[in-house]
């Protein structure tokens, strides 16, 4: 699933480790989500959306698959 996580992270000047710590996941999880290799669960997707103050569908796009 395509997403804007990397862009949002860059806008906040966060490393993958910074974001992973905020989401309470591993750096591998952040990397896998950013590169579309792993689709986050709904709770994690909500957590990401809340963290960046956006709606889930603004960050994740399932129509690009």
């Amino acid at each position: 699933m395509k997403n804007t996580l990397k862009v949002l992270r860059a806008m906040n000047n966060w490393s993958q480790a910074d974001l992973a710590e905020r989401l309470d996941v591993s750096r591998q999880a952040v990397n896998a989500i950013e590169t579309g290799k792993y689709d986050p669960s709904l709770p994690l997707a909500f957590k990401i959306a809340r963290l960046f103050g956006q709606n889930i569908e603004e960050i994740f796009d399932d129509e690009c698959e």
Binding site: A17, R27, G36, Y38, D61
Partner: protein
């Protein structure tokens, strides 16, 4: 919507290894090498004890190269792990990753302690008891191993699943476990019927067990680091 793969890397980004499968294969190969060398050492010590024991030049000449190979395997593992950490750019571990690493180190240490116990036992009675064979074990040792696997390992696993893993790792672990189940559910009956047909030797529980373990391990690590 922009795909992260189209964007340049940011400082501190994890760069996946060039070939994760090769990376995992190397790690598994080194671990198998370590286990194999441990078995060889145990066998040599058992045979040596049967012939009187004692440390002489011949014994050292046989054992030293194997120990050197084991040291090389351990060094290789550390290099691979260090290279992976360097490739990530940011070597700072998150809280969960640190806990995960510490639990894994504790498990490896436990394995080392079991290996030392077995080596000490082989010195005492002239035969090398092994965890993974069907030979007799001293009752005290059998109870100790049963408590470790039946009580301590489930507690460690429960703690690890609940506190140290994130959903990516849990997903990778589940897939590995599912594939391992298929190896067991399909591999065991296939071997069994082929044995009944006189085409294969009798099914070996330890081999099937190890096949499920390695399948789960390889799939789990591949899905986590691919």
């Amino acid at each position: 919507m922009t795909n992260a793969n189209d964007l340049p890397g940011l400082p501190g980004d994890e760069t996946p290894p060039r070939s994760p499968l090769v990376q995992v294969s190397k790690i598994v190969g080194l671990v198998i090498g370590l286990i194999f060398c441990s078995g060889v050492i145990a066998g040599i010590m058992a045979a040596h004890s049967e012939h009187g024991g004692g440390i002489d030049a011949k014994f050292l000449a046989i054992v030293t190269p194997i120990i050197l190979i084991m040291i090389a395997c351990v060094y290789g593992l550390f290099r691979l792990i260090a290279r992976s950490a360097k490739a990530m750019g940011d070597e700072r571990l998150t809280t969960r990753e640190r806990l995960n690493r510490n639990i894994m180190i504790a498990c490896l240490f436990s394995g080392g302690v079991i290996g030392v116990i077995l080596a000490v036992m082989s010195d005492n009675n002239g035969s090398a008891p092994s965890v993974y064979d069907d030979g007799p074990l001293p009752p005290a040792l059998a109870i100790g191993f049963a408590v470790f696997w039946g009580l301590i390992m489930p507690l460690i696993s429960w703690y690890w699943h609940n506190r140290a893993t994130d959903e990516l790792e849990a997903d990778a672990y589940r897939t590995g476990a599912m594939m391992a189940c298929y190896v067991l559910w399909i591999g065991a009956p296939v071997w069994w019927v082929l044995w009944r047909g006189g085409l294969l030797p009798e099914p070996d529980g330890v081999t099937i067990y190890m096949a499920t373990i390695f399948t789960a391990l390889i799939i789990w690590q591949w899905k986590k680091y691919r």
